[in-house]
Symmetry: C2
Subunit: 265 residues, 2 copies
DNA sequence: CGCGTTCTTGAACTTTCTCAACGCCAGTGG
DNA sequence: CCACTGGCGTTGAGAAAGTTCAAGAACGCG
């Protein structure tokens, strides 16, 4: 259907044309036709405002028309995990219980269509249309589970940066388009949120960004605005590609034994 | 609707009645009515057989009628992550691309209803019925992301054991039913698979199971058969409960700053 | 019984976390 | 205008958790 990656299009502009900082229309067909057939209601959220809290009554289901939403969970001792980051077209607020199992917070200015849970249960057609988006999210979540379970800290940060650059890093990545393969990334997240997303501490995220800066791979313009100077090079650090040039070759079968948990040095 | 946990009911028997090692009907309504309206075909898999491989042509979507399935992904250097473990009622094989983005393997003897992808696309009603299961899986995946991102190795192992005991550890856990609060767990997974599921190494899993054994919390009968001697005590080690007695109290709001990444000693 | 596979255990080493100090920046109020 | 303050972010030193490597034990199967 369409690309799995870059489903939360942070405001990003190609390096060569630094102009359009305003929100762009999401790439791909993901954000298509968010029709609201009577039951749906348009709701808007400022950047970094709470949409609902973990444990609150699960009254509504939301579909994002524009913007970015972050879902997170807390452990009772205060450890937080950002569980999913969503963009246009994505659906959240489904809960098998009567309460939300995670909190939702907008990252950028966000518009959603909200559906009352009760109404939804009486409109199977609508329910289905919303559900049909979920397997995209499931797929992205699988990718993220792999990041959390098996990638080193640097690979996580590199992967994170690549996810902020639409159109690059996926299977159909066109490779560098200009001699200067750079991209401007607006993060819209604090270091703490990035850390909670990547399963790291804030210090580690900070240190690794500094290391990337020292190596000349990125430059940090404004804390939440990073220029990735060589997209391809950062992409090679994600752990998702063969480091010796070849891209993923087809695998002969499962390799059940001896898996190094982290990349070898 | 129903419980999130124990959605992959490994063969488990209460400690007091050690008899029924044979597969039990799944608890809850998850495994309801797996009707196959013409398009669906019944397929069976031996324990530990491959259902499809990551990168293979995504020809079918499956719904589990009975048994357990493990989804996994490989990084190009051979690191593996078990991404999801599924039980009766769960759906897998959806892919936004033309190829599968993960591999599927049966853990126990498994029966599935398989639907040709092409047929599915012409039967929106069926598609919807399958999709409607996905938000349950999404929810379980959020839980697992939290485990991978924020839990210590011991908390992961404890959580894993609790997930193998149906009816316990969830929000509606009845607590100990007998004076002797034990449970028999059939793992159906090798140590390597458990490690790949929990984002650890095989050595760490082995070490921590030994530590639990030394502390008298579990006993290991047959490598893949473990008796959890005190379910409640193991549950307190999962990191999902307040360790000082009280269960989760309602939280006042988001706590965006200072999150210890691991539990304090 | 012997062999291959899987699991366990130990010791050394890495990575990442923890704790603490410091820097930067924006907003505030004298 | 400038010092003060609070919130983030960065950096360093030391500690801890988990990994790696290697050897030995246990299991299962012919």
């Amino acid at each position: 259907m369409q690309d799995l990656e870059h489903r939360w299009p942070f405001r990003v502009a190609p390096r060569s044309s630094p102009a359009p900082v305003a929100d762009r229309a999401p790439p791909g067909a993901v954000g298509e036709a968010v029709v609201s057939p009577g039951v749906g209601r348009e709701v808007h959220f400022e950047p970094h405002s709470s949409i609902f809290l973990e444990g609150g009554a699960a009254a509504h289901v939301y579909q994002i028309a524009r913007g970015c939403v972050m879902l997170s969970k807390l452990l009772p001792d205060g450890r937080r995990q950002v569980v999913e980051i969503l963009g246009a077209g994505d659906v959240f607020g489904f809960s098998p219980e009567s309460t939300y199992h995670c909190s939702a917070e907008s990252l950028t200015a966000t518009s959603c269509t909200s559906f009352a849970r009760a109404a939804l249960e009486h409109t199977p057609a609508l329910m289905c249309r919303l559900s049909s988006h979920l397997h995209l999210q499931l797929c992205a979540l699988h990718e993220h589970v792999t990041l959390l379970g098996r990638k080193s800290a640097m690979e996580r940060v590199a992967t994170f940066l690549m996810r902020c650059i639409p159109g690059r890093g996926g299977q159909d990545c066109p490779g560098p388009q200009h001699v200067d393969d750079g991209a401007l990334v607006r993060l819209a997240m604090t270091r703490q949120e990035i850390a909670d997303y990547l399963g790291l501490t804030i210090e580690t995220v900070s240190r690794l960004l500094s290391k990337l800066k020292r190596r000349g791979l990125v430059s940090i313009n404004k804390l939440d605005e990073i220029t990735v100077r060589d997209v391809c090079l950062v992409c090679l650090m994600t752990g998702s590609h063969m480091t010796d040039g070849r891209l993923c070759e087809s695998r002969g079968g499962l390799q059940p034994t001896r898996h190094p948990a982290r990349a070898r040095p």
